[in-house]
Amino acid sequence: MSESTFSADDFKPLPKGAAAEVITRPSMSYWQDAWRRLKENRRAIISLWIIIGLLAFTLIGPYLWTVDHAKQNVDKISERPFTSTEAVLTTPLQPWDIGNRGTPSDPLALAEPATTQTARLVWQAMPGASAYRIYRNIFPYEPGAGLGLPLGETLLPKDTYFEDRLDLQAKTYYYSVVGLDSQLRETAQVVTLEVPVTRVITLTEATERGLLSQASDGKLGEKIHLGTHPFGTDYLGRDLLARLMEGARVSLFIGIVAPFLFVLVGVAYGSIAGFLGGASDQVLMRFADFVVALPFLLFMILFKIAFGIGPGESGVMPMLLALVLLSWPSTARLVRGQILQIREEGYINAAQLLGANTSYLVLRHMIPNTLGVILVTLTFAVPSAIFTEAFLSFIGMGVAPPTPSWGSMCNEGIKTMLTSPHELIFPALFISVTVLAFNLLGDGLRDALDSRMRSRE
């Protein structure tokens, strides 16, 4: 470098207003930048919308779909989604005047048209039969094949009638009556009848269920619509959509409150340990290791007992407590590591030299610099907490009936998996989608908040 001479002008301050340097791009704060990058991540944004949608589903949903989740309707057990059914209005079932049934002209006949209330069969006595067995089938009669559901036996030769009230559905049944010999073994004498069943509902039932505003509004023989369940009903005829909304409350409550609390505890603990360092750090972190080793399920049960929560009461609070008390160490470790690292950074030394006190250092430099890590931990803790809740409710440790939760609904649905799969599929789908959405959002957040990624783009 060549020598130069300085003039007085060189030591004049710049005139006010002159730009020292030109900023070509808009200035962005850390959060603005993170949000910008998150917005570019399509998966994360879709997940975010799904989560917002879920919150709306459980918080606003019950105001739009005002069906009681605990109301059972034994006439609509395990109904498929969007089944639209109509029923004929009728009078309550009267006892059958068996003495006046007469003798049918056919071998097997209906005493009156079959409805979902009752199917009343009469038949001509068979020669030599000392009793009869009645079957109900969903397939037409075919020699050699099974006759279907054995409904019952009449015990005397003169009893040539049978009333079937067992779970009658609005479809066509094939009834068979088989004569039995004196040893009550089946003989070759079989008569079969095809019986179409109509769905009926009594006026009182229709009024009770709010299908008619008054019993006088409906006329006997008129068809009325029974109402649709968009997600079907469960094994006691309860509306699945309403139960899913109600269940989401428990799942999301645990899923959001528990991580929030334990992350808070973890941050406080971890930053104290990291900031103090030395022997106190060692002691604090060994205690955290000890907590990691405690078995969750056992503690959950212990809390349940310690809380005096008896059978039949909700176990959600002990679950929350157990989650908070046992899950904080991972956050604490993470935060401690970050703080240890940040503590050695140049700007911390600089700030200390400039006279910053401890609280300023922690609040201004350390916590904001660990916030990204904390946020990512939080989003990953949410799905795992939701999953834990679902698992515990699945094994019956969580909510008490009739309160539903997605986990307990899965547990109930699995029993009827083969006959009505929708009872399992919907809650399982909700759990999977929620857990996936939170995981993808966590992934996106991690990418967006990672300061190393920041310089790459």
């Binding site: 605990a70 059972q72 034994v74 006439d75 057990i77 054995p150 006691l236 039949g312 009936p401 006959t419």
Partner: protein, 572 residues
């Protein structure tokens, strides 16, 4: 990345990418290796287990060449000491390996067993034991074996839960309560083949009683030699029935083989009854049946549809037991008030429970503590003494409840604890009741699901308001149900006490006249209904399917069920 980035950064970047790529490749290899390794391990283990365990688990449900059938048990028999057994599974196995003085035949009629003839009088009975009766070690079955077993059953040191069933025998109750030594029991062997019984009081159904498994004989020498392990293993039981246990792997496998010493061995056609599976999982049982691994299985509401679609020949039976909701009548419980119970009765329709919720054929809506199959004077008891019926009347129930609340001076009934079993069916029924009472009477019900043992313990200590209880018959007489709600019966878990009921139970116990006794049962039925001591729910049924090649299986309400002693295989 910006275009004018310095070269050094680019190099670092590409090096990083290279590293990532090669590391990723390596990871992929490791993952693949791990998966392949795991698969290999599984193949190896399954091969190994087949190699080692091939002796037992591969027999088909029906094996005509070896004259063997395979079946499933819901659990391993908890107790095969006949003086202690209480449950259905043990009872069923004991029915195959033991024989009492009398037994039930294939038409469920009472026929001679070990006793070739008997004589029952007002104050006692004599049984003559047949010469050909042998134990499975070749020793003759003697009258002394019965005396030993019966004394053992009432011995308070043995603590048999079924001691009460011997109470019609003289001094049995006093011995069981420790007031008399067990040698004072009213039974003695006058000689090797003659058994003399003295009664405490006249009894109308002693012949039916002795067919029960608690009355089976036990050989004293063998019992003492077993050193307190009698009934615990296949080798520590001496058999006198049609079969003997040849193999018992605890928790896994039970195998019965034809007992060559059985006096009526010609009657027995099967050589082996094998129980290679213990599980309560009905779906697993159905799958085993589909595979042909077992010859018989029960069906439940969930897998019934599958069975119907396969067009199998289904069969059904009422297994004889009655299920009911029992109230806790103890002093400190709110359920001791009749008005509350009556209101709860008036909103409950057993028909709805059976036809819409349980949905299984064979179940009957409950109307009474006495099931429909019990015999009365000439015909069926329930035909001669119809059970009182009630109509569902929600407004009346609500009015009654309001009245009750006013009397008690409370606004809201505290939550009622409903004790129930831990199986899916009980859970479903409990939830049905929970919603029913919430919707109609605004009663809060808390469900307390417990495993069987725990439920029994809680029932005994009275930690419940309501309990889903059931009772299966021990002997073929209405008294097996009739004395359930007598104040002294330990199975009266709600401690219901009504002097009127007690009086009629005494009449039924002591009278020998059929009409007087049936009248008493009719009275008990009416009193229990009037006082709403319990809410009958249903009479249980079972739906089952058997392999078409299996014939001669007997199902029954009273006695060992199912009974395969007369079963045989017919090849199509």
């Amino acid at each position: 990345m910006t275009e004018n980035a310095p070269n050094t950064e680019l190099d670092v970047q590409s090096a990083q990418d290279d590293f990532n790529r090669s590391a990723g490749l390596k990871l992929l290899w490791y993952a693949l290796l791990a998966v392949i390794g795991l698969a290999l391990l599984m193949v190896l283990l399954s091969w190994g287990s087949k190699k080692l365990g091939a002796t037992s688990d591969s027999s088909p449900g029906i094996d005509a060449t070896n004259n063997t059938i395979s079946l499933i048990l819901s659990q391993e028999p908890p107790q095969l000491d006949s003086t202690l057994a209480t449950d259905m599974v043990s009872n069923m196995v004991l029915g195959h390996v033991m024989e009492g003085l009398l037994r039930y035949d294939e038409n469920n009629a009472l026929v001679p067993g070990i006793a070739e003839r008997w004589d029952i009088r007002e104050n006692g009975a004599t049984f003559w034991i047949r010469d050909s009766a042998r134990w499975s070690n070749g020793d003759p079955v003697t009258a002394a074996d019965f005396v030993f077993a019966w004394r053992k059953s009432v011995d308070p040191a043995n603590a048999s839960e079924y001691a009460f069933i011997l109470f019609p025998i003289k001094n049995a109750e006093a011995i069981n309560t420790g007031k008399l030594p067990k040698e004072e029991l009213g039974v003695r062997a006058t000689d090797e083949r003659t058994l003399e019984v003295t009664f405490e009081r006249p009894i109308a159904f002693f012949d039916k009683l002795v067919a029960f498994s608690t009355f089976s004989p036990v050989q004293e020498a063998f019992y003492n030699q077993a050193n307190g392990r009698y009934g615990a293993d296949a080798e520590t039981i001496l058999y006198n029935g049609p079969f003997s246990i040849s193999r018992w792997v605890h928790g896994a496998h039970l195998r019965l083989e034809k007992n060559p010493y059985y006096w009526d061995a010609d009657r027995i056609k099967l050589d082996v009854i094998d129980f290679p599976y213990f599980t309560t999982d009905t779906n697993a049982a159905l799958n085993l049946f589909k595979d042909g691994s077992i010859a018989y299985t029960g069906l439940n509401a969930e897998n019934l549809q599958d069975a119907l679609n396969r067009r199998w020949h289904l069969d059904r039976l009422q297994d004889g037991s009655v299920f009911f909701m029992e109230f806790n009548h103890r002093e400190d419980r709110i359920t001791r008030h009749r008005k509350l119970r009556k209101a709860m009765q008036l909103v409950f329709d057993p028909k709805e429970l059976v036809y819409k919720v349980i949905k299984l054929p064979g179940f009957l809506p409950g109307e009474s503590i006495f099931p429909v199959w019990l015999r009365g004077v000439d015909g069926y008891l329930r035909a001669e003494y119809p059970a009182p019926v009630w109509e569902v009347d929600i407004p009346r129930a609500q009015a009654l409840l309001a009245e009750f609340k006013q009397e008690m001076g409370i606004d809201k009934i505290p939550p009622l604890m409903l004790l129930t079993g831990d199986n899916p069916a009980s859970a479903k029924q409990s939830e049905y009741f929970q919603a029913l009472y919430k919707q109609t009477l605004d009663l809060d019900i808390r469900i307390d699901k417990q495993i069987f043992k725990q439920r029994l313990a809680k029932m005994t200590s009275g930690e419940f308001d309501l309990v889903m209880a059931g009772w299966g018959p021990d002997f073929d007489d209405p008294l097996t149900f009739g004395d359930l709600f007598s104040s002294w019966n330990l199975n009266n878990r709600g401690r219901y006490a009504n002097p009127e009921v007690d009086r009629w139970v005494r009449v039924a116990q002591e009278s020998l006249d059929a009409k007087t006794r049936m009248d008493a049962f009719g009275k008990i039925q009416d009193l229990l209904f009037e006082d709403v001591a319990l809410l009958p729910q249903y009479e249980r049924g079972v739906v089952f399917v058997t392999d078409p090649r299996l014939h001669g299986m007997v199902r029954r309400a009273v006695g060992p069920d199912p009974d395969f002693t007369n079963a045989y295989i017919v090849e199509p």
